[in-house]
Structures are given as C-alpha cells and as structure tokens.
Symmetry: C2
C-alpha cells in the first residue's frame, strides 16, 4: 500500500469492478480470480491487481479475491459506505427521469432537494415525495438539507450560472448533464455526462471504420 497519487482512471475502474462484483455476489459466487473478473470487466488482469494495490492487499495468493469482502473494501475506498445527498437542478425531461430512476437510491445516492425556475413546477410534489423549490432558494435549501452533490440538468445556457450558485452554497461535487464545459474553482470536482460526445464518437467510428 502506497500513498502515490491515484489515477482517475483507476477510480473509474474500481466503480466498474464493484458493480461486476455485486452481480457476482447475487449469483452466489464467493471467490474470483483477477483473471476471471478482468474478462468480465473487459480489462487486463494485471490492471485490476495494480488498481487494488494502490489501496492495500485484498486478495489471497493462490486463491483470488473474496467477492463480498472486496465489494466492501471498494465501497470503503470510494467513500460509498455511507449515503450522499443530491440536489437536482432542472426538472426537464432528463432531470425528472433521473429523479425517478431507482439506481441512485440503490447505490446510496438520495435526492433531498430539487430546483427549477418554471413557476408551474415550483411547489409541485415529485413522485419521490420531494417538493420542487425555486432556484432562487437554492443556497438556503441546500445548506438546510445538507446536500453534498449538485446535479445540473438544465439547458446549456443556464448551466454555468447554476454551477456558480451551487459553489456559493458550499457544494464541492457536481454532476453535469448540460452539454457545456463549466468552469469551477479547484476545490470543486465536476464530472460531465455528455451523450452527444459519445454519439459523435460512435459516428466517427462508423464513418471511418468501414
């Protein structure tokens, strides 16, 4: 176990490993080798061992990894042995469908606030019981409800301004669905989810690959 700087790619892969391991757990697989896990995750076995080695020794030589244990270890590493409170900003198509989406809760992410600017939406009750607040109340509500992570699902034009408000409210982690690069101070970590980019990438491969 070292204290080297951990590559971002490693963190991403840990998340993938965890998901695969959780599936294996449901299939009552108790132990798995890096080789088999690697195949299932589509990576190199050495990669898995090295990724894990950043954080400790979790395997048993000659045997492999104990699935249930490893899931817990990775959860601990990623900071997932707790729950995180999310705030959704923007309740258009994407925003509303994400709030209804069950995968968040399943992994310990709980929406505790939702915002929009549309007066027709403000005050409405969402399927999960949340009442929509106006964006003007953002800072107050976010502090009040102990929100840790902001989710931006507004149109592109509003994203930067929302990000600014989130940061003012003390948020240090943002998941951005708007198709723009938002600028934030170093203390804040932004992850972009941009399927247009992914589609462009597919288009490129289809055009050149043939």
């Amino acid at each position: 176990m070292k204290f080297a700087k951990i590559p971002m790619a490693t963190i991403n892969r840990l998340s993938v490993y965890m998901r695969t391991l959780q599936e294996l757990l449901e299939e009552d697989v108790e132990v798995i080798s890096s080789e088999r896990l690697a195949k299932q995750c589509g990576v190199n076995p050495a990669q898995i061992r090295k990724d894990l080695a950043y954080f400790g020794e979790f395997g048993v030589r000659g045997v492999g990894y104990h699935v249930a244990d490893l899931v817990n270890q990775i959860k601990e590493i990623l900071g997932l042995s707790r729950t995180w409170n999310l705030a959704m900003v923007g309740l258009g198509n994407i925003g509303s469908s994400l709030i209804r989406h069950g995968n968040f809760v399943k992994h310990g992410y709980i929406f505790t606030a939702a915002f929009d600017v549309d007066p027709q939406k403000v005050g409405k009750k969402l399927p999960n019981g949340l009442v929509v607040n106006h964006v003007d109340e953002l800072e107050e509500v976010i502090r009040e409800r102990d929100v840790h992570i902001g989710v931006i699902a507004t149109p592109a034009g509003a994203a930067q301004s929302v990000a600014n408000q989130l940061i003012l409210a003390g948020i240090n982690g943002i998941l951005n669905f708007a198709p723009v690069q938002i600028q934030v101070p170093d203390c804040c970590h932004v992850e972009n989810v941009d399927f247009t980019i992914k589609l462009d990438c597919i288009a490129y491969h289809l055009s050149t690959g043939v």
Copy 2:
C-alpha cells in the same frame, strides 16, 4: 496530416471543440486562436493544435482559425455532415426522456425506431410520432428503417441480450445507458454512459479531498 492511429481522447475533444465553436459562431466570432479556444474548453492550446494536426492544417499562421470553417472541418472529420438514424431500446424513464430530448435532432441524430417489451407500451405513439415496436421485431424493423446506431436504455439484466440482437441486426454502434459492461465483437463500437460511475468518482473526491 498523418495516418497515425488517432487517440480516442482526441475524438472526444474534437466533439467538445466543435460545440464550443458553434457557440462562438452564434456570438458572431469569426476567428479564434488556439489559446482562446483552449481556455474556453479547459485544455492546453498545444493540445488543440495537435489534435487538429492529425487531420490536416486548418489554421492560418499569425491569425488563428476561422470559426465557421473549423466547425465544418470537424463535422467532416467526425462524420457529422450527414444524419444518423437511431433506435431506442427500452422506454422506461431514461429512454422516453431521451427520445423527447431535443439535442439529438439538433446534432443530426434521429430516432427512427423505438422498442420495448411491455405490451402496454407496444403500439403506443410517442411524442415525436414514432410508434413503439416490440423487441421481438427488432431485427426486422432495424433493417427496414436503416438504423445505424442502437441506444440501450433497458434495465441492466436485459442489456446484453439486447446488444446481441442489435448486432444480429447488423448494428455496429451502440450507446449503452445500462450500468453493465456489454460484450460485443470487434466490429461493433460501444460507448457507455454511466452516471453511477461518475457519481462514485465524485464521492471518492469528496471523501478524500477534504
């Protein structure tokens, strides 16, 4: 201009550049330097020049890049000077909201087919006029409507089987929203959109960064 293998990261960035350039175009900016564009995209200026250099010389020394031209050039590179037909598989929360989402059409991606297994959904007409087909008809409909790219928005459990069917139907590009790694032959290109991974990544930063 070389014929080296293009890094995937370059393709992703080209897509980002294009989006930023399109914004600039709407603000009537005619010419831009790599330095200014870089700042706006959050990358290194040399990176931009190098990315573009893979495909040709698009700038004017001492001046910069002509915005409108560069947009077209990048479109040409990525294969976006045409439209692409998409098929949505899975009309749950995410699937339906994506179909309603305007950004796809704006960038030349058109849904020409939609599938689900739920008998209550099959036959229904979607807001964009598409009638939902049963997944059993997938291969037939996809060939008939000349679909190029499959979008998987099913639960995790169904994703691999849907992917298999898409590939049988001759699809070579898949955008996967299901939170699993799907296995496909080399001829098919898969891009995953997995916000759980992104959230885990934020959680990691929040837990360690403080």
